[in-house]
């Protein structure tokens, strides 16, 4: 009696609990459906209305151009420190074997910078493929064909830049032209396959990019950038006539000239002038001193202390480069920043005296930042410096080189003189006009002009390989370990071969040497 009475008394409580349970069970679908908090997915992103609804994907590709691997240490080491114009710099052991091997060869398959270049450029390419995938497959975004072509053109321009770097760095690389996700593990393609792919991308880009952008988008890829890069691709393939044609399209476009004095090109105020064909854009302010910038200038900055701690002091101009300048060539002073020695103060372009006893006698003056900007941003690393990928002078010299190789000496001399005339400025006593019509002689002169005009600017190593003189030149510069057949290319990173389960193969020369 007592028990049952109690049960009856307790029934309400029991039923209440059962009701709670049932109610919770009934709403089971909603309970487990949890949308991401504070994050967009590709289905929920509120695509902006504006110039192109695909811009948010295109901008991710531009963003990848600023990355450490694509535009900072690994890039600088591969394109400049490997050459005879630059030394690793800094203190002897700094950077260890990875850095030392980039300077003195051979580069080991375990080299972290080689792996960085591989992953960095493929990430860049991947971001371009995403743009192309979105344009082709995203049915929720409505856009005109013209807009679609423009977005595709930008993506293909950046992708071509990525592959052009990869093919010159590594030779054979996998050709990834779609969003592959996890099935990206494919074998390498020969340069003979990669180059036509790059050409097609750039031809498409040149045909569909605008001549210029308004101030809001200064520095976006243009027709001129695509043609200029295409000229360099043709030049590398020794397609002289096509290189001339592509370069000529840039020259005739009316967008570029040599009005910017040489000593202004490289500073903050020289960004995006009429000299600039393509620059990787960077910016910084006190709120975001590094995030929207590039570590490019910081890696090469003066390795001092206190307010002279401007960076790592890597990629310093070599003595060989100093000797390369003709007497009185003012470009030397804008390229090389000297460390003060007792009785010989080194002066910056802003009139400061460099300290005594820095670890290196010289630094790359082209990345020297404005001290006022350092104070304004509250950072000495110069993350705001754009990377000059393609300058008008480079286009002119490419034209000159191609013309000379094609036998059109007169056209070559004309373009060469344009570049020398600007360097000469008002001083008639220096850098005399070249008049030789001997093709061989002119070839050497144009090569020399390229070297000094573009010194420390990412061209020298690739130029040496392209001209087939890398081994001789580097041996003359004391880099005796350099073996042309092996070291013209970087080894395929062992980390990537390992990840690929053997799908990727090592370059034959690296494998057997």
């Amino acid at each position: 009696m007592k028990i049952s009475g109690n049960i009856q008394k307790n029934y309400p409580a029991v039923f209440m609990l059962i009701a709670v349970v049932t109610a919770l069970a009934a709403c089971k679908k909603g309970f487990l459906d949890r949308d991401p908090q504070g994050r967009y997915t590709s289905d929920t992103y509120p695509y902006p209305q504006g110039s192109s609804p695909f811009d948010q994907y295109v901008f991710a590709a531009y963003g990848a151009l600023r990355s450490y691997n694509v535009s900072a240490t690994p890039f600088i080491a591969a394109v400049s420190i490997r050459s005879d114009d630059a030394d690793k710099g800094s203190t002897p052991g700094d950077g260890g074997a990875d850095a030392q091997d980039m300077d003195n060869f051979p580069v080991s398959p375990s080299n972290g910078m080689a792996n960085g270049l591989w992953t960095g450029y493929f990430d860049l390419i991947n971001k371009c493929n995403i743009v192309m995938d979105q344009v082709a497959n995203n049915e929720e975004i409505t856009a005109s064909d013209e807009i679609k072509r423009q977005s595709l053109a930008e993506a293909r321009f950046i992708r071509a830049y990525g592959y052009f770097m990869l093919v010159r760095l590594f030779g054979r690389v996998p050709l990834i032209d779609t969003v592959t996700g996890t099935s990206a593990n494919i074998p390498q393609s020969a340069p003979g396959v990669i180059y036509p792919f790059i050409e097609k991308d750039l031809q498409y880009a040149a045909a569909n990019l605008p001549l210029s952008w308004d101030a809001r988008f200064v520095g976006r890829a243009t027709q001129g950038a695509a043609n200029g890069l295409l000229a360099k691709v043709y030049l590398t393939e020794k397609k002289w006539g096509m290189a001339m044609d592509a370069a000529d399209l840039v020259i005739q476009s009316g967008q570029y000239d040599l009005s910017t004095p040489y000593d202004r090109i490289f500073g903050e105020d020289g960004e995006n002038t009429r000299e600039s064909v393509f620059e990787i854009q960077a910016t910084a302010d006190a709120t975001t001193p590094t995030d929207y910038g590039i570590q490019y200038a910081s890696v090469q900055g003066v390795r001092g202390t206190g307010s002279w701690d401007l960076g790592w002091g890597w990629n310093t101009p070599s003595t060989r480069l100093l000797y390369a300048y003709e007497d009185g060539d003012p470009r030397e002073a804008r390229t090389v920043l000297f460390t003060s020695t007792p009785g010989h103060p080194g002066l910056t372009i802003y009139g400061e005296v460099t300290p005594l006893g820095l670890p290196n006698p010289r630094y790359n003056n082209k990345v020297y930042t404005n001290p006022a900007m350092r104070n304004e941003v509250g950072n000495r690393g110069g993350y705001w410096m754009n990377v000059r990928v393609l300058r008008y002078a480079d286009v002119l010299l490419m034209y000159a080189e191609a013309a000379n190789e094609a036998g059109n000496t007169a056209a070559a001399l004309e373009k060469l003189e344009m570049v020398r005339a600007r360097a000469r400025g008002d001083d008639a006593n220096i850098l005399p006009e070249i008049t030789t019509t001997d093709q061989h002689q002119l070839r050497q002169i144009i090569r020399h002009e390229r070297r000094v005009e573009l010194a420390m600017e990412h061209e020298r190593f690739f130029d040496l390989v392209r001209w087939g003189v890398a081994a001789d030149t580097l041996h003359a510069a004391g880099k005796n370990n350099f073996s042309g057949s092996r070291d013209n290319l970087l080894p395929v990173p062992q980390a990537q071969i390992d990840l690929s389960k053997g799908e990727l193969t090592q370059n034959p020369e690296t494998r057997t040497s």
């Binding site: 709670v20 996700g181 990206a184 593990n185």
Partner: protein, 1005 residues
């Protein structure tokens, strides 16, 4: 003071009670079947609230009515009722043979008699944890449970890494903690002294009831409740000093100068100008210290007919051995249970937790790397900078310590509570509902002061100068994090014994779990004023909004829902059967993938209950065979939303000085993502023999994890995305043995010896068909491949050093090997050392874990000795493979090769030779160790003294922990991190595990 008042009141109340009833005084002793006194036995008068407990000598005294019946109860022993019958002294023996049979073990959603278990569960008593000088209760489990691997850290407030039966997954292998029913990922918020017991559930049949979250094992924690029929006040305190016994042996100034100049010579450079570097600084000494650890707990428990109450206050304070490292926790608990009538019981638990932490400004690696030739400081705010060859990468360790000291306030609050009601009806049914909430709020305020001035000592052309970073400005930052968790459990239990021999328990339940988090962070730099170094100013609004700053915030949530059931059946406590089922749904996976069914089946046979056994087998008191199979899921540690294409919007497009948003995939989503499935069988034997003096518990297990959840590194061609997916099968096979022997010699001497060890063999059976690339960790150092242990070390095998050009001519070598370089074994049969010569070099996971506990008692003295160790693993001394700058050398480099015949182990001093940096056995050292974990001697005061002080029991003890470690490893501790299964075992400067010398007191009133 307060304590004394309480005692007075309680004493008065007791006295009043005594005089209010005409009663007689009764004295007695309680012992076990061997005659050993039993301490802590609860003695209470049946049907009344009067009660007491026995002291260390087993003695009790009580005033009772002459016709009273006394109830003696003790965990693990059979409760005994004794009528007083007018006696004034009693001698009671609690039967120890049935004790173990009656021992209750906490299992999921209920308890079971230990004898009825068909899985392997090990119980550790809370008192064994509370007497160790540690703020985190998990750390003291080390060496106590077979099959449990614990990696302790000496860093104040850090939770240890726990692995149960090896690594089941390539991903998160942490166990699930269930604290009084609440699912938790850690028990940092618990005070060791508040823990009644910890149950370690290892086999699938025990953990299947926890479904998706239990795949890597479960640790159930039961907190203390009031003991029946008495009021008790307990105070425990422990204070100790932590001391780093093993420092890493680095070169002194003279050694460094010699080695660096030798390196420069090898690189073709002139000797470095050390003429002004005259100091000899031991940086480790300057950032390490002897540190205090202190734990205190005061608890009061009371139990009456209607209510039981347990209240406790805890305060733990641990200084880390790295200067300024400190962690404090304050814990207040109340557990209350109200019996409304014989059918309804309601209760509530509430824990309030407050912590504060000072993170060390110093960095151990910094101290190892810094050149010993530099003096520390010249004056306040004026320090010496490192020499030019490491100035950019390595700062002055003491300056760094001082710069970062006292600049952050980290603290947090947490409130964990539950409400439950239990209704018994129709005699055999119990319905229980519980609601849990766990709310956490963490705060951080920090300050970046102006930098110090630095003296650059003159080198070569450079004169001594003093520099100061003029662009640096002061800034402040604030962060707030909020965590919320809500859980509800509803269970209906049926429990009935039919015909005195069939015992049936049926459980059905429903549970949900929801958790979410939110964070807000901001910082502001004052470009005009210098914010003072005083915490009262460390708020964002101290600087006006025109000053630069960044702000951020985010959140996340997840939910689980489950239905569960269990059937337990025993026949005459002889044949045992258990079956469990759980259906789980989780928000982490897509609707098509989120529901799964898990379950287990276990059987047992208590052979010693068979008549023939009782008749014919002598000496064996208890023998049980058991076997179980189970299948569980594991989704612990899986991030939310991974099946959805979440975007990364952090990158931007920059044009001129214009910044535009961009999007790119945050990761590569796997829409088919689901939990991993753990299948396992477990065979066990439990034995007690020789009058229960010998006990043995032996388990064999074999379990396979399928569809392992893991983050994989994709080939570079896939872009820079992470990818989380299910892949592969891993098996863990092993044996666990726990033995125990306890006995007494003569009247006064008792002792026990209990060794345990476990052996685990880990093997990757496949890494799946989904991927066509390798699974590599730590940059390729760890490799996970079919047929080997997970994340094994993969590299070259050192055979020696190339002594000369002749060596190079006759031995296979790398293309650029030179004399003085490491010679590697040529294993692939070609003529050179190539990547094909890399091989298995060992596993980071110990195959063997062992522990031994010895305890001795002589009269009132007790002595405890615990040892613990591991074997069969390797440690990667990654801290030595540093190549970004010139850093100080460990003393092994003093023996570096300098010419033919000078060394066959240590390569030439030349950090530009990439061959010697390749991952090889040169960087591995054995991870085996044996550690004297505890040496503790205690004295328990005799009962006579209690009458004067009100003290029932008082134990004081001296304890030493980690006094000595035997190992060949060279780091601060041989316990390299094992938290990421595919990238484990690298010593990158592991925080020291110090020796702790402490003394403590445990007093009960």
């Amino acid at each position: 003071m307060i304590l004394r008042k309480c005692l007075l009141i309680i004493a008065l109340l007791c006295g009043f009670y005594r005089y209010a009833h005409a009663q007689q005084a009764l004295k007695g002793t309680v012992q076990d079947s061997t005659g050993a006194p039993l301490a802590g036995v609860t003695v209470h008068v049946k049907g009344a609230t009067t009660g007491t407990g026995t002291d260390a000598g087993g003695n009790f005294s009580l005033s009772v009515p002459a016709d009273a019946v006394l109830v003696f109860s003790y965990i693990g022993y059979q409760t005994k009722e004794v009528p007083v019958g007018g006696q004034t002294t009693l001698k009671v023996t609690l039967s120890s043979s049935t004790a173990q049979l009656q021992q209750l073990v906490v299992i999921g959603y209920g308890t079971a008699k230990k004898v009825d278990l068909t899985g392997s569960i090990t119980t550790v008593k809370g008192e064994d944890l509370a007497r160790m000088p540690a703020t985190n209760p998990v750390s003291s489990l080390q060496g106590k449970v077979a099959g449990l691997t614990i990696v302790n850290s000496g860093r104040a407030g850090t939770s240890p890494t726990v692995r149960i039966r090896g690594v089941n997954s390539t991903n998160n292998s942490n166990p699930l903690y269930v604290v009084d029913g609440v699912f938790q990922s850690n028990i940092d918020y618990l005070n060791p002294a508040d823990i009644e017991s910890i149950e370690v559930l290892r086999d699938p049949s025990s953990i299947a009831i926890f479904g998706l979250q239990g795949g890597s094992g479960v640790i159930i924690v039961t907190t203390k409740r009031a003991a029946k029929g008495e009021t008790r006040i307990n105070f425990q305190s422990n204070v100790g000093v932590q001391h780093v016994t093993r420092k890493i042996d680095v070169a002194d100034a003279a050694g460094f100068k010699r080695l660096y100049n030798a390196q420069r010579e090898n690189l073709g450079d002139d000797p470095f100008d050390f003429s002004n570097y005259t100091a000899n600084t031991d940086w480790q000494d300057l950032i390490l210290r002897d540190a205090v650890i202190n734990t205190n707990t005061l608890s009061i428990s009371n139990s009456g007919d209607k209510t039981t109450t347990y209240v406790s206050l805890g305060f733990n304070n641990q200084d880390g051995v790295l200067k300024y490292d400190n962690y404090k926790k304050y814990i207040a608990r109340i557990n209350e249970e109200i019996t409304i009538n014989e059918h309804i019981k309601v209760g509530a638990d509430l824990t309030g937790f407050y912590w504060s932490q000072q993170t060390p400004g110093a960095d151990l690696n910094n101290a190892l790397w810094a050149a010993p030739v530099v003096p520390v400081k010249a004056a306040d705010h004026l320090y010496y900078s490192m020499p030019s060859f490491q100035r950019a990468q390595v700062g002055n360790p003491v300056a760094r310590l001082d710069q970062n000291t006292g600049n952050a306030i980290n603290n947090g609050y947490r409130a964990i509570g539950n409400l439950y009601a239990e209704i018994k009806f129709l005699q055999h049914f119990t319905f229980k509902s519980a609601f849990y909430a766990d709310l956490g709020f963490d705060n951080n305020r920090s300050y970046t002061p102006l930098p110090f001035r630095y003296i650059n000592i003159a080198e070569g052309d450079a004169a001594t100068d003093t520099t100061f970073d003029e662009t640096a400005r002061t800034s402040v930052a604030q962060t707030q994090t909020q965590n919320r968790k809500f859980q509800q459990d509803h269970t209906l239990t049926f429990d009935e014994t039919f015909a005195d021999k069939h015992h049936l328990t049926v459980l059905a339940g429903f549970t949900t779990l929801y958790s979410s988090s939110m964070n807000l962070t901001g910082n502001r730099k004052d470009t005009v004023l210098n914010i003072p170094d005083n915490p009262i100013y460390w708020y964002l609004d101290i600087s006006n909004q025109r000053n630069p700053g960044t702000y951020g915030g985010g959140g996340g949530e997840e939910a689980y829902m489950s239905f569960l059931g269990r059937v337990g059946y025993t026949y005459r406590e002889k044949y045992l059967l258990n079956a469990t089922f759980r259906r789980d749904g989780v928000s982490k996976f897509s609707p098509a993938q989120r529901w799964g069914n898990f379950g287990s089946l276990g059987v047992g046979w208590v052979a010693s209950e068979e008549p023939f056994f009782k008749d014919h087998i002598k000496g064996i008191d208890f023998l049980k065979f058991r076997g179980a199979w189970g299948q569980v899921g594991n989704a612990l540690g899986t991030d939310n939303y991974l099946y959805l294409p979440v975007l990364n919007i952090a990158d931007v497009g920059v044009f001129g000085d214009n910044v535009y948003p961009s999007v790119s995939p945050k990761y590569i989503p796997d829409p088919r993502l689901h939990w991993e499935v753990v299948n396992g069988i477990d065979l066990g034997l439990e034995l007690r023999a020789l009058d229960n003096r010998l006990s043995a518990d032996i388990n064999f297990y074999n379990r396979t994890t399928k569809d392992i959840l893991t983050y994989v590194t994709l080939p570079g061609t896939a872009g820079n995305y992470s990818y989380y997916t299910n892949l592969g099968d891993i098996s863990n096979k092993g044996v666990e043995v726990s033995l125990g022997w306890s006995d007494r010699i003569g009247k006064d001497f008792t002792y026990s010896i209990s060794p345990n060890f476990s052996y685990n063999e880990n093997k990757v059976k496949s890494i799946g068909n989904e991927i066509d690339f390798e699974l590599l960790g730590n940059g390729g150092v760890n490799r996970t491949a079919t047929g080997s242990s997970i994340g094994y070390f993969y590299g070259y095998k050192q055979t020696g050093i190339y002594q000369s050009e002749e060596d190079l001519d006759r031995m296979p070598h790398l293309s650029n090997s030179r004399p003085g370089d490491i010679a590697y074994a040529n294993l692939d049969g070609d003529t050179a050392i190539t990547p094909g010569d890399r091989t298995y070099l060992g596993t980071p996971f110990p195959k063997l874990n062992f522990g031994i506990n010895l305890s001795f008692g002589y009269r009132s003295f007790d002595l405890l000795i615990e040892g613990q160790g591991v074997a069969g693993n390797k440690i990667y001394t990654q801290r030595r493979n540093v190549n970004f700058a010139v850093v100080n050398y460990e003393t092994n480099r003093l023996k570096a090769w300098t010419g033919p015949g000078t060394s066959d182990v240590e390569p030439i001093l030349d950090n530009t030779r990439s061959n010697n940096l390749l991952f090889s056995s040169y960087f591995l050292e054995p991870g085996d160790y044996f550690r004297l974990r505890t040496l503790q001697i205690g004295y328990t005061f005799r009962p006579q003294m209690k009458w004067k002080t009100g003290i029932r029991q008082l134990r004081v003890y001296l304890s030493g922990q980690n006094i000595k470690t035997w190992t060949k490893a060279t780091g601060y501790t041989p316990e390299a991190p094992l938290d990421n299964p595919i990238a484990s075992g690298a010593d990158n400067g592991v925080y020291p595990v110090p020796a702790v010398y402490s003394m403590g007191v445990n007093v009960t009133f």
